[in-house]
Symmetry: C2
């Protein structure tokens, strides 16, 4: 069965469907906090448009905002991506139908299980 937390996935997939928002997330992927202005700089749109994009990301729970003085400091919260990964992985057999990587996958599962056990 393919599980589906509709609300989360709706918002997350929608947030990821725009290249500007994906690029912003990619920028934040190093874990460093950045201001709205810093995040908007690489893109050829107004600050207001960038602000809207960040609001979409925030609504999806993909970023968190910390207001410090007059600047809004933004950092990534990638936890919704875990659901995306889970959802997508459920289809892996559909695009990788051969058993070529079966060994690797089994190894992966063992390590994953061990890691979970050791946690």
């Amino acid at each position: 069965m393919v599980t589906d937390s509709t609300d989360v996935l709706d918002a997350t997939f929608h947030a990821l469907s725009h290249p500007t928002r994906r690029a912003m997330l990619a920028t934040l992927a190093d874990g460093v906090e950045r201001s709205v202005g810093e995040l908007a700089a690489p893109f050829d749109v107004s600050l207001a448009a960038s602000s809207k994009h960040l609001k979409v990301l925030e609504a999806a729970g993909l970023i968190e905002r910390r207001v410090v003085g007059r600047t809004h400091s933004v950092r990534i919260d990638a936890s919704p991506l875990a659901e995306v990964a889970d959802w997508t992985e459920a289809f892996r057999a559909c695009w990788e139908p051969t058993f070529a990587r079966l060994d690797g996958v089994l190894e992966e599962m063992k390590r994953h299980r061990k890691a979970r056990r050791d946690r």
Copy 2:
């Protein structure tokens, strides 16, 4: 660097942002071909609306259509999901810092601390 084939990911993420379309894909995940009517049956919308959903999935390359007689037979093509998986996996370290890619994460933390120190 987080790679990004914009066009594919735009269309794919958008296609996945609607629960009905995700459910249709999930239905097709077993690899069995189904007619438009069969796919539309579980949902409380008109056939025309379902047809539109399928067109979105088709535009994203997530399904393929084979017209046989008067029925359109639809099957999954999950290959765009591979890109989604790749894109998402690049962020795994962001939500699973405990054991996934531990080395990378440690490096990340060092840089992060340095960045904070240098600020």
